[in-house]
Structures are given as structure tokens and as C-alpha cells.
């Protein structure tokens, strides 16, 4: 008898969402997730790590949640599997609805896992409490939401759906692109799997710095019938240099003879999916000659340059000078000085980089997860030697970006593979690849000296920041320029000298990460303001209020500000501050063990859009002959909510309800360029373009209907109508033009900024956003651990377009700020996965109290300002200030790991 025959009988099938599926000859040792996605096309089950760490792949096995990536098909045989696609059938439609209603899904990549984990809980406990929810969801990571709204949604899942309320500008409407995210239908970078598709895998440098040479590639390929192509830099038809800032473009898509950081791609193997994914590529014929590597940024200036045209490994330096710092400092009554050191921080979107490329006639189509479709098209076209018109970029749903998906990743590689093989080519980074090869937050070594006068007014700031920008330029120049401009925080200083330098090393490429270096600067400044306030004999919050910028004040760059909201944000914290201080004091007075409470505060300001560089957005709106508005919107929604917010703005300006709109794009063929989703610019810049296009269209409609501006538009049975004093009448829309529209309008908007001079004087941004956060912490002084109990976050949005989404940005920013403060530190070769690299889990999150403030900006659409990055900036310094309040020790290095704090407390 065969050993398995008996065991195998009756287990040759799996019940998936109620349907029996024969396993056939599928490998029983295969991951259940891989089988569900690739054999059954159930791509609602997401994979973020293939290691059990992210929980995105959670499915129910006989009702119990398991990671599908860790479940061998053989163990699911004969059992029942429920995936997100089967939730509805499992009676969990209300849970899905609650996720939408509460804004519990942002990018949505974690949503299927969250839903499945929650469904398992609700099936056994229909009315769970918060602690039960936290335990049940603890195995699923979310990088976007800060978990607060997810918990709210699960607690509220029993409630039936309610009819939508007001949908106007300012209304709390659920995200328009939400439904596919809660049903598993949203298609992310890895979810498009064309039938004849090849798989692309990269060969990457195991060394931070090494020369390399290939062996006999042809022979290696020939010995492997599944290999369709092996491609190296020699096969790249165009300019093998890409970069987000064209004058600094320096990064090869495939390295040429020398790798400059660990994880840099040197070749790709393109082959049939199954065998290519199973292949062990460790025998790929490449010989490495390791070179001395610069891993310590302090040694970079004296070391041999990585790029010969950048002496002292200096990529760029940015500087702002105003007033006489030396004199002001000399005259100051109180001066404090200190340093701050920060680490590489990995964005860790739960969706690794992924995409597929194919040829449509002579058009190369690239469908990938991205934040910058137009930049991708142009850079990929350049690398592949194609005119930009022959490349079309269609962003997939994006499972988190936070800055890392602004730079190219898979695009040139799958594009090259598709061009060379003529077949669709797909690439999905493993988690480790994603961590090794993509950009990080710039580690900084910062130093500041701050002076205040007798009355506690800030008089002088001397600020210096040295950033490790890694092997290639990426966004290093932006960081070096943005940081000095923001060095003062939202405070008035009489004299300022601020300088930042981005220095190359053989470390990972540092790029854009929510805040472009500003959070590092704020960590240094804000943690020194506390001792300074005390030296001045002032309360720490009042000290900040006293020094907060006001309307009409000039910044360190000499820009006179309007719509300044920092004072209101800080003042909004006053009652919370008093309560929190009293509570902490009372707790500490009676504490007998090692626990100490503390309260801290920190502020932020942040310029929306590129620093002194053009960054226009163009929006097109058409009206079909039936009267329906169609919004061509090229801004990628990476979870932050632009699809919804831009539509709300357009709806308000046009005068039709949000539900009337059809959304098109983003797609470089179908939508005009709305620039990149970065620098907190979409609500402001694309919002302005959308408002302008909608107003232009409204003017056309009113002209056609012979109505005045006070007329009301409506869309009903009879098509598009206007109502004014003369009554209601249909708008006589003509027939469709070649674009399918009866009417259309296209408008652009570019922020009015000016270049900065050698002293950093000028108008770098047209709009700023403002915020202040207060952290309450409990420090275990024996173990050096910090528990953040509550964050009260006041943010000035100018005009709140959608409070639900705004709160989500705040909560998510706080989660990342908490990670920056307490746990996140990327170390090449040591933390290249999500169990060694720690991001906050549901249990690490404090109670968050968002306070939305509206000080209209004269330039923003309906007064609105950006928010995306702002929310992260004050969190880490507020936490550190609270730790200092609790312990008396000012931490000068993040992450403040337990052993570091314990050491400092000795």
C-alpha cells in the first residue's frame, strides 16, 4: 500500500467560499496563498511578506484565522477556506460596510486580512470589547490607519448600514474608492496576472560595495529551459540612469560593473512563472569583488567619492541665513544646545513593489504600484530608449507608498523584459528585496543651538544637519533644501543660520519619506525647546504659543505668511495640556513602582508642494451628452484619499453632487498630469486645478442655459438641469465630440513660488499646513520601555474637505511617528524583513484625539491646506519630550529602544 493513499482519499479537494475545488496535481507543499491567488484567481488574499509577519494573507481555515502564506495546501485539503471574496456569503457584509463608514481602509492592502481576522472574532463573539478586538487583530499590520478606525469599525460592525447623509464639501463621506477595497476586488500591483505572463527576478548585490563580472550567462540560461532571457546593463537600450530629480539622475536600472549598495540589482532572469519562482538563483554566474564600503556617514566626507563628480561625497547642501546669528546668540539670556541622531527608517508599505508590463501594438504598457505615474513614464522611457509617448503608465491600486513609490522600482526591469521577450512580464518584490532595494528615510546627525531673550522670545537658531543619503541621489537634494527652510519650526526667530548636507555612503538609497527630512529636524529642535522653556521659567506649551508664527510674520526665508494656523493649534491644546499635566503629576505622586508618567508637546509646519520648483497639476472634466460629469484625475490615490477629496472639491465648484461624478484615471493615456502624490500637494495643488476646471465648466453650462452664477445645477431623469428664478429647465447640451463629451474644461494650477537665493531667501512654498501634538506617556524606568497613552493632535487644514479622511491621515501619521520615535531602525543585512524590522502593531497605538482646525489659506482651494506629511512631524518629538518630562532625561537618539533609554537613565 502506498503510504499516503489512505490519507489522501477524501482530501483531494478544498472547499473555498462554499465551493468544492479539486486540488488535482497541485503541489501539497505550496503556500495556500499562492494557490488561491494564482490558480483560483482569488487575489483578494494579499501577500505582504510570505513570512507570517504582516497578516495580510489571513484566511479562515474551518473558521479559524491562519496566515495563508504559512499554510501548506496539504493541510487545507479536506477543509473549508473562507477568503475575503466569501465574506459576504459568510454574513459579514455589515462588517465590510462598517469599514467603509468608519474610514477603516486607506490604501486597503491590509483590509482583507483585517476583515478576516475580525470576522473570526465576530463569529464567536458578536459584541466584542476593545481588548478582544485588539487581540484578534494583533496579527495584521496596517501602515496607513494607525488602527484607530479599524477598531472603531469592528466595534460598530453590528449596526446596519445607514443612508448616506450630507455629501457636501466638508462632509464625512466614505472614500469613493472604498468598496473594491473591502471586497477584495481592488487590483494592486501583484494582482494583474496575464495568462501568458513571464516572471522577472533580480540578481542583487550581497555587498554594500563591490565590483562584479558575469560568467557565461548564455550557457547558464541554456541549461535552464524555463529561462526566457537573462538581461544585464548591456541590454539596456536607453540611458541607464534614472532619478526623480533629472539633473541628479544617477541610478542605473541595472548596475554596470559596480554595485554601490547591498541589494542593488545587477541582472534580471526572466522565465516561466512556476520554475522561475521556485528556482534557486544562488548559482547565477556572477563574481563579486568586494570593495571597501562607506557605511558610517561620518567617514563619508574623507572617503573616496562614490560618484567622481561629487567630491567629499557631497550630493548637495541647502542653507538659510537671516540676521546676525552670532550677535543674537551672544545677546541671548538663555541658550541651549544639543544633538539628535536618527536612523534609516523603512517605509514598509504592506504591499511590496509590483507590476506587470506588456506590449499593446508598439506601446509599452506598465501597470505598477506607484505614486508618480507621469514621472515613471518619462524615466522608464528614457532608460528603455523610447519616446515617452510610447510608454503608458497605469497605476495599479497602491498598497501604501509614503514616499518610497515615487522612485522607479520594477518599472524599467519589467519594461525591458517585455520589450526583449515580447511577452507580458511581471515582477513582485519579495519583502526582503523591497527592504533592501528601495529608498529609506534619511538618517540624520543634527545639532542645534537656540537662544531666547529674558522674556522667553526666541532670538537665534544655529542649526546644522548632516544626512546620509546613501548610494544614489533620489530625493537627497530635496531633503537638503527642505530641512533648512523648516529648521525653525513654526516659530519666529530674529536670526537664523541653518544648513543641511546630503552625503553619499554605501548605505541604502535614502529618499522621500513623509516629511522629506523635516521630522528629523523637528526632533532636534523641539526636544531642545523644552529645556529652553524651563530656563526661561515658562510653561512649555505657553513658551511655544508665545513664539508661534502669526499672520504677517516673515519666515527665515523672508516669506511673509498668511493663513497661519499654528497659534490656534497650540491654543486648542491648552485645556488638554492642563488636564494631562495634572493627571501625570497625580499618578507620579502616588507611584511606588518603576512607572512614571510624562507629558510632552511639539509642533509642525510644512510647505505643501515642491520646494521652489514648478509642480503643476492639470485636471480635465467632461460632461457627457446625458449630462454626467466625468473627472479625469491623474493624482494617484495611495490611500490618502485624493480620489474622494478631489471629487468633493470638483463637486463643490461645479455645483453637482459627488455621486454624479464618474472618475477616470489615473492613466497617463487618459488623464492629464497631476504630478506626484508627495509633498502633501494633492489636496492643495490638484484641488486647485480641479476647482478651476469645475468652475470653467460651470461657466460654460450656465452660458449654455442662459443662467446666472446663482443658478443651481441638478442631474435627474431629464439630464442636466438648471434652476433659477425663471424655474427649472434642461441644459441644451449638444452632441458628443470626438472625446465623448458635450462640454469639457481643462485647467492647470502651479503654486506661485520663487527660487531661493544663496542665503535661502525667497518664497519656497505658496501654502503651509500647521499642527501641534501633545503626547502622554508612561515610562517603565526599570526596563526603559515607553508606552504612549494618548496623543492629542490639533491640525490646521485651512478647510476640512473630509473630516473622516483627515482624521485617518492624522492617526496614520501618528503611528509612523511613534514608530520613528520608539522602534524603527533599518540595518542592512540585519532587519531585512518585517519580524526584525518592527513597525507599530495595533497594541502599540495610543488613544488618539484629533482636533481639526480651519484657518483658511488664501491660496488653497476653498482655503484648504495639505495634511499628509504634517501629521507625522510632531509625534516623535512630542513623545521624546514626554519621556523627558517623566524621567528628566532628554533622549538624543531615535529610535529610543528600551536599552538606549535604560542606559540614559543610569
Amino acid at each position: 500500500m502506498s503510504l499516503d493513499a489512505a490519507a489522501d482519499a477524501g482530501t483531494a479537494a478544498i472547499t473555498v467560499n462554499g465551493l468544492t475545488v479539486a486540488l488535482g496535481d497541485a503541489a501539497r507543499a505550496r503556500r495556500l496563498s499562492d494557490w488561491l491567488r494564482h490558480e483560483l484567481g482569488l487575489t483578494g488574499t494579499k501577500t505582504g511578506c510570505d513570512a507570517g509577519d504582516c497578516g495580510a494573507c489571513t484566511v479562515l481555515l474551518d473558521g479559524a484565522p491562519v496566515c495563508a502564506c504559512l499554510t501548506p495546501l496539504g493541510q487545507a485539503a479536506g477543509r473549508s477556506v473562507t477568503t475575503v471574496e466569501g465574506l459576504d456569503r459568510a454574513g459579514m457584509a455589515r462588517l465590510q460596510d462598517a469599514f467603509l463608514r468608519h474610514g477603516a481602509t486607506q490604501c486597503g492592502i491590509c483590509t482583507p486580512g483585517m476583515l478576516m481576522a475580525a470576522a473570526a472574532l465576530l463569529a464567536r463573539e458578536p459584541h466584542p470589547d476593545r481588548a478582544q478586538v485588539e487581540t484578534a487583530l494583533a496579527g495584521v499590520l496596517c501602515r496607513c490607519t494607525g488602527y484607530a478606525k479599524i477598531i472603531d469599525a469592528v466595534l460598530d460592525a453590528g449596526r446596519p448600514a445607514e443612508p448616506p447623509g450630507s455629501r457636501a464639501l466638508g462632509a464625512r463621506i466614505a472614500r469613493l474608492d472604498g468598496p473594491p477595497r473591502v471586497t477584495g476586488r481592488a487590483r494592486y500591483g501583484a494582482d494583474e496576472i496575464p495568462p501568458s505572463c513571464l516572471t522577472v527576478r533580480a540578481i542583487r548585490s550581497p555587498h554594500p560595495h563591490a565590483d562584479f563580472a558575469f560568467g557565461d550567462l548564455a550557457a547558464w540560461a541554456a541549461a535552464r529551459p524555463w529561462v526566457a532571457a537573462v538581461l544585464t546593463a548591456a541590454d539596456i537600450p536607453g540611458r541607464n540612469r534614472f532619478g526623480v530629480i533629472p539633473p541628479f539622475a544617477d541610478q542605473p536600472a541595472l548596475a554596470e560593473g559596480r554595485a554601490r549598495f547591498r541589494g542593488e540589482a545587477v541582472a534580471i532572469v526572466v522565465g516561466e512563472p512556476g520554475p522561475t519562482e521556485m528556482a534557486d538563483l544562488s548559482d547565477f554566474p556572477v563574481r563579486w569583488t568586494p570593495l571597501p564600503a562607506i557605511t558610517d556617514p561620518a567617514a563619508a566626507a574623507a572617503a573616496e567619492p562614490l560618484h567622481p563628480d561629487r567630491p567629499q561625497n557631497l550630493l548637495t547642501a541647502g542653507r538659510v541665513r537671516r540676521g546676525d546669528v552670532a550677535a543674537a546668540m551672544a545677546g541671548a539670556a538663555h541658550v541651549v544646545e544639543g544633538t539628535m541622531r536618527t536612523a534609516f527608517v523603512e517605509h514598509s508599505p504592506i504591499e511590496p513593489e509590483a507590476g506587470v508590463a506588456w506590449l499593446d501594438g508598439d506601446m509599452l504598457v506598465i501597470r505598477a504600484s506607484t505614486q508618480a505615474p507621469a514621472m515613471d513614464r518619462d524615466d522608464t522611457a528614457a532608460v528603455l530608449g523610447l519616446p515617452p509617448e510610447r510608454v503608458r503608465t497605469i497605476p495599479s491600486a497602491c498598497g501604501g507608498g509614503f514616499g518610497t513609490k515615487l522612485d522607479l522600482s520594477v518599472q524599467p526591469l519589467i519594461g525591458l523584459a517585455a520589450l526583449r521577450t515580447g511577452r507580458p512580464c511581471r515582477m513582485v518584490y519579495t519583502r526582503t528585496e523591497s527592504m533592501q532595494a528601495t529608498t529609506k528615510r534619511h538618517p540624520g546627525r543634527l545639532r542645534a543651538r537656540i537662544g531666547a531673550d529674558q522674556a522667553g522670545r526666541l532670538v537665534a537658531l544655529d542649526f546644522d544637519a548632516e544626512f546620509d543619503t546613501g548610494a544614489y541621489a533620489s530625493w537627497g537634494p530635496t531633503v537638503a533644501n527642505r530641512v533648512p527652510v523648516h529648521a525653525t519650526g513654526p516659530y519666529r526667530f530674529a536670526a537664523v543660520r541653518a544648513e543641511a548636507r546630503a552625503r553619499h555612503t554605501n548605505n541604502p538609497v535614502a529618499g522621500a519619506f513623509r516629511g522629506f527630512g523635516v521630522p528629523q529636524g523637528a526632533l532636534c529642535l523641539e526636544t531642545l525647546l523644552d529645556p529652553l522653556a524651563e530656563a526661561c521659567g515658562l510653561d512649555r506649551l505657553e513658551f511655544r504659543i508665545l513664539n508661534a508664527l502669526r499672520d504677517g510674520d516673515a519666515t527665515a526665508t523672508g516669506q511673509v505668511l498668511r493663513g497661519v494656523g499654528i497659534g490656534e493649534c497650540l491654543r486648542a491644546l491648552r485645556p488638554h495640556w492642563a488636564d494631562a499635566l495634572a493627571e501625570a503629576e497625580a499618578a507620579n505622586a502616588t507611584a511606588r513602582g518603576p512607572l512614571r508618567r510624562g507629558v510632552g508637546v511639539a509642533s509642525c509646519w510644512y510647505g505643501c508642494g515642491n520646494t521652489s520648483l514648478p509642480n503643476p497639476s492639470t485636471v480635465r472634466i467632461g460632461i457627457t451628452p446625458e449630462g454626467r460629469p466625468v473627472l479625469h484625475q491623474g493624482a494617484t490615490d495611495i490611500g490618502q484619499g485624493s480620489d474622494t477629496v478631489i471629487t468633493q472639491i470638483a463637486a463643490e465648484a461645479l455645483g453637482l453632487p459627488v455621486d454624479a461624478f464618474t472618475l477616470v484615471g489615473p492613466d497617463t493615456l487618459l488623464t492629464p498630469d497631476c504630478g506626484k502624490t508627495s509633498a502633501s500637494r494633492q489636496t492643495y495643488v490638484t484641488g486647485r486645478a480641479a476647482a478651476a476646471a469645475a468652475r470653467a465648466l460651470r461657466a460654460q453650462i450656465l452660458r449654455l442655459a442662459n443662467a446666472g452664477d446663482e443658478a443651481r445645477l441638478s442631474l435627474g431623469e431629464g439630464g442636466l438641469c438648471v434652476t433659477d428664478a425663471a424655474g427649472t429647465r434642461p441644459v441644451p447640451l449638444g452632441p458628443a465630440g470626438p472625446d465623448g463629451y458635450a462640454l469639457r474644461a481643462e485647467e492647470s494650477y502651479d503654486p506661485p513660488t520663487t527660487a531661493l537665493d544663496a542665503d535661502g531667501q525667497g518664497t519656497p512654498y505658496a501654502v503651509y499646513g500647521w499642527g501641534a501634538q501633545m503626547a502622554e506617556v508612561e515610562v517603565d524606568t526599570a526596563l526603559g520601555t515607553v508606552r504612549v497613552l494618548r496623543i492629542t493632535a490639533a491640525h490646521d487644514l485651512g478647510r476640512v474637505v473630509n473630516p473622516l479622511l483627515a482624521e485617518g491621515q492624522i492617526e496614520g501619521g501618528i503611528a509612523q511617528g511613534l514608530g520613528l520615535a520608539l522602534m524603527e531602525e533599518y540595518l542592512p543585512d540585519r532587519t531585512e524583513n518585517l519580524h526584525d524590522y518592527l513597525i507599530p502593531t495595533i497594541g502599540d497605538m495610543p488613544d488618539i484625539v484629533p482636533i481639526l482646525i480651519e484657518v483658511p489659506d488664501p491660496e488653497g482651494p476653498f482655503g484648504a491646506k495639505g495634511l499628509g506629511e504634517h501629521a507625522l512631524i510632531p509625534t516623535a518629538p512630542a513623545i521624546l519630550n514626554a519621556v523627558r518630562h517623566a524621567t528628566g532625561v532628554r533622549p538624543d537618539r531615535v529610535p529610543l529602544l528600551p536599552h538606549r533609554l535604560r542606559e540614559a537613565l543610569r
Binding site: R28, L70, P275
Partner: protein, 289 residues
């Protein structure tokens, strides 16, 4: 190596009885697969490469039972089953550890035997079992044998398991089931975290004093270990305020510096955690006294 195709069905074996499994072990030397929560993360491939012996269908390999000599926990028992089982107070530490292994998804798949055979220095299952003097039962066609857990784990990721052996059970001798226990784990975040340090403490109390104490510490040496000197110093101490000597704890450990913590911190944290776990374990005794 030539890549495996995706359909080596024959390379995956899931026998229903131990005898068949042991014959496969002898013949094929397959990779033993239990919950897969250590095996799958170790590869980036979409499938494990064979041959694979899945032990989770073997009759008698899962479940917790009282025996004449004490208790027996099948090697393929999942952490969630341990967390939910009625266990004596001496195994409270094991239950607490079970609830902290990863998160519910991991607990629903991962097994106690897998945790021990994987032999990570940070395996949370080890200290609670060491504190109970646990033994492991190993089986092959050659026969069955028992080893104290402390002898089974020979180094980081190294065990005394012979290539043809399967771990069949964890055995808890009656003597180790006396008293109460507690487990504490320290990491840089709340859930899903590899321990910086973890401790299990089991105490037997009598007459308002500590009678016997068993203390095990993990992640602070290459292999989790008992701290006999610290245990001895606790015997006879009053329940009110037992004193732990941090120097004695440090002397008994050999921690390393790594990305998660410094060696010095680990020793210090271990001493602190021992004190707290001890307080948790004797708390009910103190109330009763």
C-alpha cells in the same frame, strides 16, 4: 540545483499513523512539517521543496493528556490548543507564553514541537517548560527515547534530534507540576515580537515562604537556561518581598549585543523580569496566606 516543479505531489506525505511516518523518516529523511510557521518564513519560494513529511494528521501526536507520571503534550499540539486548555497552575507560564507566540494566526498553526525543534534562542515555549523540568519524547524506527529538554536543545538552532527521529511529545513529570508559574516577555513592541528577554518562574510556597523556585530565562544566552544559583537563593525567602540579586542573574547568563538590545541591558532586564514574574506567580499565594 534544478528547480522543483510545482507539482511534486509524491514529495508531500501526510500519514495518519506514526508508524508510517517513521518509515518515511527512515527511508526519505524528509523535512518534517508541523505548523510551518518556522519553515515557510525560511524560504521565499511559493512552496516548500520536498520531500516533506506533514506530521499534523498523525493520530495521537496532538492533544494534552494527564498520565500516571504527570502530563503529556503531543508535539503537534498547536499553541491555540495550549492557550485554551485547562492546565494546572504550574503551567500558567506555558499558557501565557502560548498567548504571546506571534498572534492568533500563528498560534492556530504553530506547534509546541516545532518551537522546540526549531530551537531558536528566542523560542517562547522553552523557558516555561524548563521551569517545569520538561522532557521530550523522540521516536524513530529504532525506538523511542526521552531526553530532558535542557539536554535536547544543544545550541542555537541545534538539537539532539537524530535525522530519522520525530519529536512525539513533551512530557511533564509530576514533580514539575507543583506550585504556580508566570511568564513575562519583553520586546520593543506589543505584539508579534521576538523577545529581547523572557522569563518563566515557577514557585512552590509553604508557610508564607518560598519553598522551591524554578527560574528559566530565554534570549539572554545561546540557549535558554535555568538559573540554579538564583533559584537556591530564593528558597526560604518570605513571600512579601523576595530579593533577587541582579549580579547573580547576570553571572548566570551570557547575553549578546545585537540590534535588539545590548548584552548589559539583557541581564538587567532579565533580573527585573524575574522579580515581576515571581510577584505574579506568588501573588495568589500571598493573598491566600
Amino acid at each position: 540545483m534544478d528547480p522543483q516543479t510545482l507539482d511534486p505531489q509524491a514529495a508531500y506525505h501526510r500519514p495518519g499513523d506514526l508508524d508510517a511516518a517513521l518509515r518515511l523518516m527512515a527511508a526519505l529523511r524528509p523535512t518534517v512539517l508541523a505548523g510551518g510557521t518556522d519553515l515557510f518564513p525560511a524560504t521565499q519560494r511559493p512552496a516548500l521543496t520536498g520531500p516533506v513529511l506533514d506530521i499534523t494528521a498523525i493520530a495521537g501526536l496532538s492533544g494534552i493528556a494527564e498520565t500516571d507520571g504527570g502530563m503529556r503534550i503531543g508535539a503537534a499540539t498547536r499553541w491555540s490548543a495550549i492557550a485554551g486548555a485547562p492546565l494546572p497552575a504550574a503551567l500558567e507560564a506555558l499558557r501565557q507564553a502560548a498567548r504571546e507566540v506571534g498572534a492568533v494566526q500563528i498560534q492556530n498553526a504553530g506547534t509546541i514541537g516545532g518551537n522546540l525543534c526549531n530551537a531558536s534562542p528566542a523560542a517562547d515555549g522553552v523557558p516555561p517548560l524548563l521551569a517545569c523540568g520538561a522532557e521530550v519524547e523522540l521516536a524513530s524506527l529504532r525506538g523511542r527515547r526521552r531526553l530532558p529538554l535542557a539536554a535536547f536543545i544543544t545550541g542555537p538552532r541545534r538539537t539532539a534530534l537524530a535525522p530519522d527521529e520525530i519529536m512525539t511529545a513533551v512530557i511533564l513529570p509530576r514533580a514539575g507540576l507543583a506550585g504556580r508559574s508566570a511568564f513575562l516577555k519583553l520586546g520593543a513592541r506589543r505584539h508579534l515580537v521576538i523577545s529581547i528577554a523572557m522569563v518563566a518562574v515557577r514557585v512552590e510556597c509553604a508557610g508564607g515562604r518560598i519553598g522551591r523556585a524554578a527560574i528559566a530565562v530565554g534570549a539572554c544566552s545561546a540557549v535558554a537556561r535555568r538559573l540554579p544559583a538564583v533559584e537556591a537563593a530564593l528558597a526560604g525567602q518570605p513571600l512579601e518581598a523576595p530579593v533577587i540579586d541582579p549580579a547573580a542573574v547576570a553571572a548566570a547568563l551570557a547575553p549578546i549585543d545585537d540590534a535588539r538590545a545590548s548584552a548589559e541591558y539583557r541581564s538587567l532586564a532579565a533580573a527585573e523580569l524575574i522579580g515581576r514574574a515571581l510577584a505574579m506567580a506568588i501573588g495568589p499565594e500571598r493573598e491566600a496566606a
